[in-house]
Amino acid sequence: MLSQYALIAVLAIIAFALPVVGLLLAWLLRPHKPNPMKNSTYECGMETIGETWVQFKAQYYLFALVFVAFDVEAVFVFPWAVAYGKLALYGLTEMILFVAILLGGLMYAWRKGALEWQ
């Protein structure tokens, strides 16, 4: 099994190397004439107005948080799914309970408007 991961490691190294090599090649090939106009931040062709940092809505954070909960739930589902063939009926009921609890959480988030996007 470790040999499979050796291939994944080699794949990762080459997958990172290729874009780097490509970028180096492009760096050699292309013109490099910086001027302040070109290097300034793009804002529809005008000067930037105000600080670059924008008001970060708490909404994004809530989405990420609900995502974390469901991501972990999904991770729990996979070993259960792989072992399902060997489980008796209680395997099914326990997963139904698990999913029901999380659906309850989703319902709460829904009702409280955490899933809205202003």
Binding site: A6, I8, P19, Y60, F63, V66
Partner: protein
């Protein structure tokens, strides 16, 4: 003749045996890994060259025009012209951008697309690495793209790029949940996360057993690649170019390659999970036919995705997110539980499959009915608002 029946695998074995004649074991393995890795890594690049041409022709025809036809017969060299252009354009890095992170983001996102190809079964025993956790590996690598996008948006030091990055990450996160749950449903049916096993278990292609899971996964896949109708961030008339506003030259090119590489990878995964992968008439007897069937199916799925892009209108971001959480997640969970219940029925497999199909259609019908009712409510609300406003104006 027998050699040709399983040509690619036999070729690999002959080559490995020849190498082992004069090299130590670890060197042979390393060379083999490097060769496989190079082939896999070139796939998103080749996919970009071919699929961009295909896309422009298909979308062009849908929009009643011809598409590129100047560079080479039927414009097939258009992609190469674009590639050369990207290589030689000047690379502009904005003033206060965070240079290392700025340069790393396109590398990371392209690398993620390439690493996805490592677990896709192109044929029987023609898979980079048939990991025990293959199905989860795909989701995990997908989540790498999320990080890369945040890096790109933040390091550009540009309001639009930052906002664009947040919004697309919210979209990616929201659609990842039903995607993972759909994959879990297929894993449940097969009893293993190994991609090779998932193909081997499809004596009946799963799209016939679980069509709604296929629909959910495909929609999530389209959202994950950021294509239309979920391409609010790249929409030319919207927020400039979203998180890659400040990128030019080949860095932009790598984002582009990552997008088409992901398109190909998602299509390949759909083919593996739902269309039976490399299976087809005669593939068991002559495994060399496997990759051909696989390629045909992948092209069909890609064509489907391009068709959707050319015909469906774009979603607004709030519609998109609501759809993911309020429709797709409950539907995916319902599918998962239904398949689980069906698998425990003391009935032969064929009966179970038919019941799963029936359950899928019930879920689809319920979802569409509820959506229809919700849509009518929204329309009624809007009409009431309009009447109130026109009433005010008239009065």
């Amino acid at each position: 003749m027998n050699y040709l029946r399983d040509f690619f695998v036999n070729l690999a074995h002959s080559w490995t045996a020849w190498l082992a004649g004069f090299l130590p074991g670890w060197a042979v393995s390393l060379i083999d890994y490097v060769i496989v890795a190079v082939i896999l890594v070139m796939m998103p690049v080749i996919a970009t060259l071919t699929l961009t041409w295909m896309e422009r022709k298909v979308i062009g025809r849908i929009q009643n025009r011809i598409g590129p036809n100047r560079v080479g017969p039927w414009g097939i060299f258009q992609a190469i012209a674009d590639a050369v252009k990207m290589l030689i354009k000047e690379d502009i890095i904005p003033d206060r951008a965070d240079k290392p992170v700025f340069n790393l983001a396109p590398v990371l996102i392209a690398a993620a697309a390439m690493m996805l190809c490592g677990v896709i079964p192109f044929g029987r025993r023609m898979i980079g690495a048939d990991l025990n956790i293959g199905a989860l590996y795909i989701v995990a690598i997908g989540s790498l793209s999320t990080v890369a996008i945040i890096m790109a948006g933040w390091s550009s030091n540009n309001k639009f790029a930052l906002i664009g990055a947040f919004r697309i990450v919210a979209q990616l996160l929201s659609y990842e949940v039903p995607m993972v749950l759909s994959i879990a449903t297929v894993v449940l049916l097969v009893g293993s996360m190994r991609m090779g096993q998932i193909v081997e278990a499809q004596t009946v292609p799963f799209i016939l057993v679980l069509p709604v899971v296929f629909i959910v996964y495909t929609l999530c896949g389209i959202a994950e690649t950021g294509r239309s109708p979920f391409d609010l961030l790249e929409a030319e008339s919207e927020i400039v170019a979203g998180y890659f506003t400040e990128y030019s030259g080949l860095k932009f090119g790598w984002f582009y390659i990552a997008e088409y590489g992901n398109l190909m990878a998602i299509s390949a995964i759909v083919t593996t999970l739902f269309l039976g992968g490399w299976r087809g008439p005669g593939a068991a007897f002559a495994p060399v036919l496997g990759p051909i069937y696989f390629a045909i199916k992948v092209v069909l799925v890609v064509f489907l995705l391009m068709w959707i892009r050319g015909t469906w209108p774009r979603f607004r971001i709030d519609q998109m997110l609501q759809f993911a959480w309020k429709v797709l997640v409950p539907a995916a969970l319902a599918n998962l539980l239904w398949v689980a219940i069906m698998l425990k029925l003391p009935a032969p497999v064929a009966v179970q499959y038919v019941l799963m199909l029936a359950g899928n259609l019930v879920i689809l019908f319920t979802a569409l009915t509820l959506l229809g009712r919700a849509a009518k409510r929204v329309v009624a609300q809007q009409e009431a608002k309009q009447q109130a406003e026109s009433g005010l104006v008239a009065a």
